[in-house]
């Protein structure tokens, strides 16, 4: 009996050992299969035609592609915009908009707008006010300073006058809805969204040098790796806090945005006509009739017009059912804009929602020195320039006008009353007054390296032909020793 029991124990032990052996042979990890590029759906084909069809605008000169230029990662082209940081549109293609056109690349990964415990995320446009890519896509057709159609009916009549696009539209949606202008416009939005989602080679290629590096197909240079390290380091750039360099729940790739909203107190851009004391069209001198009604601006605010992102003045389209709620009363959110992806950032100048910085290097310098500069009007305890101190004097200052006169007010794109809304609790915004007199978190050399890393986020890298990589112009001088 005892020996029987023992035998049984050994049998169990063998089972255990067998299971262990089995587990040890359990196979190795496999990379997920690379998704085959599929043919676009009929809706996406129609969407591509709609996206590029200038005849759908009142001016006949503007399509989606005018302000979302493929070669610029689907952002605007300052040359087309006559040097303004905002796009031109309208019936005569001379009406300036309010915001720098955002990149459409990787926009399809954006989650719906949500707000949790005061922290907003997701939604479309820079202020998250549209519920979906499709809902966003219809808006420019009927915006007076963009494609400037009066209403959906005008858009549909132009569609019916554009045979090639119409044919593709009918192929996708049939002709039955053409009598219903609103339904047709909705379909057009869905078609454009399908194009922006399905055409992964155009919009979601994940073909940057960084992607090849993550896949182990190429090595980054030492300086680029150092730049990534600075990007990730919570005491240096801390960029990854809002622009994660690792994938999150939205995609199996790093998207370099967490879709959150933040108020980083960027300087006012006096080159935006709406920001002038008396907003007029810079080409005609006529007042901007489409200025939105201001909300939330205190009576004693320093300037007339403020674009405060999530809390106004632009509001959701009433016809967009699932759109972001009106957050005008959420004063602490005033000044918040959605964190953009940094993929292709070297192609998307100018930077930020108001396009205040024309170069990526300036944008990074500004992050590092926002509260550390020599402008006593901005900062009561400036860090002196020079070795070990602030190497940047020209960046991070706030001006009263385009001529560069220092402003009395820090964060001057916000009413002073809302200065507390500005994010001052995270690296790299280490305001000396509260962080114990810290200097800039990065040196000039480190900023160069960080920018070099950001340049590796440009799509179009072929590991088999690295020399063909089209390095954006603004990356090249930094790369040279």
């Amino acid at each position: 009996m005892v020996s029987n029991n023992k035998t049984r124990v050994y049998a169990w032990s063998l089972l255990v050992v067998a299971a262990a052996t089995l587990s040890a042979c359990g196979g190795s990890s496999e990379s997920p299969p690379i998704p085959a590029v599929q043919a676009l759906s009929a809706a996406a084909v129609a969407g591509e035609a709609l996206f590029n069809d200038k005849s759908l605008s009142a001016s006949g000169q503007q399509s989606c592609a005018t302000c979302h230029v493929k070669a610029r990662a689907f952002t605007g082209d300052p040359a087309v915009d006559k040097g303004l940081p905002v796009p031109l549109g309208g019936v005569n293609m001379d009406e300036p908009g309010f915001r720098n056109a955002p990149s459409l690349m990787y926009a399809a990964f954006t989650p719906p707008f949500s707000i949790d415990d005061g922290a907003a995320s997701g939604g479309f446009f820079r202020d998250g006010r549209a519920s979906s890519l499709a809902a966003q896509a219809v808006q420019p057709f009927v915006t007076p300073f963009e494609m400037a159609n009066q209403d959906a009916a005008e858009v549909v009549s132009r569609l019916q006058s554009s045979p090639d696009t119409l044919r593709k539209y009918i192929a996708a949606f049939g002709g039955g809805t053409l009598g219903d202008a609103n339904a047709t416009l909705t379909n057009m939005g869905a078609a454009i969204a399908a194009y922006e989602t399905e055409d992964v080679e155009e919009f979601e290629p994940f073909s940057s040098k960084f992607d090849a590096y993550v896949d182990g197909k190429v090595k980054l240079t030492d300086r680029e790796v150092n730049g990534l390290a600075l990007f990730n380091n919570p005491g240096k750039g801390n960029c990854t806090a809002c622009h994660p360099s690792v994938h999150q729940e939205f995609s199996s790739h790093a998207l370099f945005t967490d879709f959150s909203f933040d108020n980083i107190g960027i300087p006012r851009n006096w080159n935006i006509p709406a920001n002038a004391a008396d907003p007029v069209n810079p080409f005609t001198g006529v007042s901007l009739k489409y200025m939105p009604a201001q909300t939330n601006v205190p009576a004693d605010a320093e300037y007339t017009f403020y674009d405060m992102g999530i809390c106004g003045p632009l509001v959701s389209d009433p016809q967009d059912g699932g759109a972001r709620p009106d957050l005008a009363r959420l004063i602490p959110s005033c000044g918040q804009f959605k964190v953009p992806t940094l993929r292709n950032v070297a192609l998307t100048a100018p930077y930020f929602h108001n396009g205040v910085f024309p170069e990526i290097h300036k944008a990074v310098e500004w992050y590092i020195t926002r509260d550390i500069n020599n402008n006593t009007g901005n900062n009561p305890t400036p860090v002196p320039a020079g070795p070990g101190g602030n190497p940047y004097q020209a960046v991070g200052t706030f001006f009263t006008a385009t001529d560069g006169t220092p402003d009395l007010y820090q964060y001057n794109d916000l009413p002073v009353a809302y200065d507390a809304n500005v994010n001052a609790g995270e690296v790299p915004y280490t305001a000396p007054a509260i962080a114990g007199g810290n200097g800039p978190t990065m040196t000039a050399q480190e900023i160069d390296d960080l920018v070099l890393f950001l340049c590796t986020l440009t799509d179009g890298f072929d590991p088999n032909n690295p020399s063909a990589y089209n390095v954006p112009a603004q990356c090249q001088p930094i790369a040279s020793p």
Binding site: V2, N5, N226
Partner: protein
């Protein structure tokens, strides 16, 4: 027994009183017809009768007194027996007595354990004779037997259909004050745990534990609700038992015996929190047993570690207090063990644990766990996670001396670390810690006991790295996302002195107070006060 005795005594007392009353009535009744006799004769006769009755009463009173004394003796005996039983149960809960690894008696000097207390017979050689073979909490290695089960008082097996069900519980709550930054002072009902066991037959038993951490568990509260153990034991032979399910791994002192009455200090030591991730459980199969010469053994195949969700990019320190250091799971195995919650089980791990209890008052043992991990992103090939520990406890007289060393290693993490340059938190290749501890049973009165202790420990959550090293922000940096909350980034290693007392009101209820000094993270210095209980 107890109630039966009382009942019979009461019956007999009532009978005596009834007899007296009857006797008196008889006397009174008989006196009337004989009234013609001389009064003197009558009085004399009555006096005689009265005397007789009085004598009878006295005799009965004596008997009654004797019975009452007897009853007192019986009650005293019962009380002693009950006390012994409670101690035995506490020992079963406290010590690794017949525990998950079927380890025989523990050499603990804690009052909850009978073994090393002065005047108490040591159970070291005998698999805890004082303890029932079924532990009431974490670790019974042995299947249910006919012995009284721990937890049977006052809970325990009920009547009828519930005869085979067993309930138990434990919990702890504390007040923790960081002496250098009192704004982070915290009070918490850290754990409220209840256990349910069921005995299917004399060889087959189910045990489970359910835990609410931090009082309120909801999506908007900090708490968690967890299944801490959920397994079946099947006795294979007198000396070996098969276990299947979610169970605690037999590592160190605390992992299996984590009830607050079983360790010194309000908080568990850091080595058995950060290096051995107590309360560490895995799902799988094990076999455990013991030998004639005092070796207890346990071996099994379990789920393992998942590195896939490693947090390379914490923007802020993962902990700003010693409390958060233990609670937030920053340590390598804390962050990666899976607790059988949709666990990745592509790779299984194996463990072996041995303990020697052959000499009274001594417990020497060790354990090894190893297995391939679910890889971190960017890893080519497999990563192997290995943890081993050795421990010893010696309880000469009123002293309780113990020491433990634990070392962990994770192989092939360079790729993953290289893919995350600049990370303040790369995956370490090695981590370790050790402590030495001395306690003394200083005072006792009835059930009251006072056990002061002192402990020195060292932990290093990242003693080696490959591919990269942590890029720790220097100087004053934001500690949390609260504006203005600035400080220095904490070190992931430290030397800690702890001294304090465990004050037992009963073996099951303990008040604790202690102070901890941190050598590197001086801001963590803290005073802890708390209450723990188990039953």
């Amino acid at each position: 027994m107890h109630f039966t005795n009382k009942k019979s005594l009461a019956t007999r007392s009532a009978a005596v009183l009834a007899a007296c009353a009857l006797g008196a009535a008889t006397v009174a009744h008989a006196a009337e017809p004989k009234s013609k006799k001389t009064e003197e004769q009558q009085i004399k006769a009555l006096q005689e009768q009265l005397l007789a009755v009085e004598m009878q009463l006295k005799k009965l009173a004596d008997q009654n007194q004797a019975l009452m004394q007897h009853q007192e003796q019986i009650e005293q005996q019962l009380q002693q027996q009950q006390l012994a039983l409670q101690k035995a149960q506490a020992a079963a809960a406290a010590a690794p007595v017949q525990s998950a690894s079927a380890l025989p008696g523990n050499a603990s000097a804690l009052p909850g354990n009978t073994s090393a207390l002065p005047g108490q017979p040591s159970s070291a050689s005998g698999a805890g004779q004082a303890a029932p073979p079924t532990a009431n909490t974490s670790g019974t290695g042995m299947p249910a037997s006919a012995n009284p089960l721990p937890g049977a008082q006052p809970g325990g097996f009920g009547a009828g259909a519930l005869d085979n069900v067993r309930l138990w519980g434990y919990g702890e709550l504390y007040y923790s004050r960081q002496s250098r930054d009192t704004s982070r002072t915290t009070a918490d009902l850290a754990r409220a745990v209840f256990g349910i066991g069921y005995r299917f037959d004399s060889k087959t038993e189910f045990n489970s534990e359910y835990e609410v951490e931090h009082a309120v568990a909801s999506s908007e509260d900090p708490g968690e609700f967890e299944v801490e153990q959920f397994y079946v034991d099947r006795q294979l032979t007198d000396r070996a038992t098969l276990r299947a399910g979610l169970f605690l791994l037999p590592f160190g002192f605390i992992n299996e015996h984590h009830e607050p009455t079983n360790f010194y200090g309000m908080q568990r030591n850091f080595v058995e929190t950060l290096i051995i991730p107590s309360t560490w459980r895995e799902g799988g199969l094990s076999v455990h047993g013991d030998t004639d010469f005092g070796i207890a053994w346990s071996a099994g195949v379990t789920t393992g570690v998942n590195l896939a969700n490693w947090d390379f990019a914490p923007e802020f320190p993962q902990y700003t207090t010693a409390l958060e250091l233990a609670n937030n799971g920053p340590a390598p195995l804390q962050a990666t063990h899976q607790e059988l919650a949709l666990a990745s089980a592509r790779h299984l791990s194996q463990y072996v644990a041995l303990n020697y209890f052959g000499l009274p008052g001594l417990d020497v043992g060790g354990a090894v766990f190893t297995g391939k991990a679910e890889q971190a992103p960017g890893t080519v090939g497999d990563s192997r996670v290995t943890l081993w520990e050795g421990h010893a406890r010696w309880t000469p007289g009123k002293f309780d001396l113990s020491a433990l060393y634990a070392h962990g290693a994770i192989s092939n993490v360079a790729d993953a670390n290289l893919a995350n340059p600049g990370s303040p938190n790369p995956i370490p290749s090695a981590f370790y810690g050790y402590f030495v501890q001395a306690a003394y049973a200083a005072w006792e009165y009835g059930d009251y006991r006072l056990n002061p202790f002192v402990r020195w420990e060292y932990y290093d959550m990242g003693s080696e790295y490959s591919g990269t090293v942590p890029q720790i922000p220097t100087g004053t940096v934001p500690l949390t996302d609260s504006p203005g909350d600035f400080g220095t980034w904490p070190s992931n290693r430290d030397r800690v002195w702890t001294t304090g007392v465990n004050f037992y009101v009963t073996p099951h209820v303990v008040f604790k107070a202690d102070y901890q000094w941190f050598d590197l993270n001086k801001a963590f210095n803290r005073f802890d006060l708390g209450l723990g209980l188990n039953f």
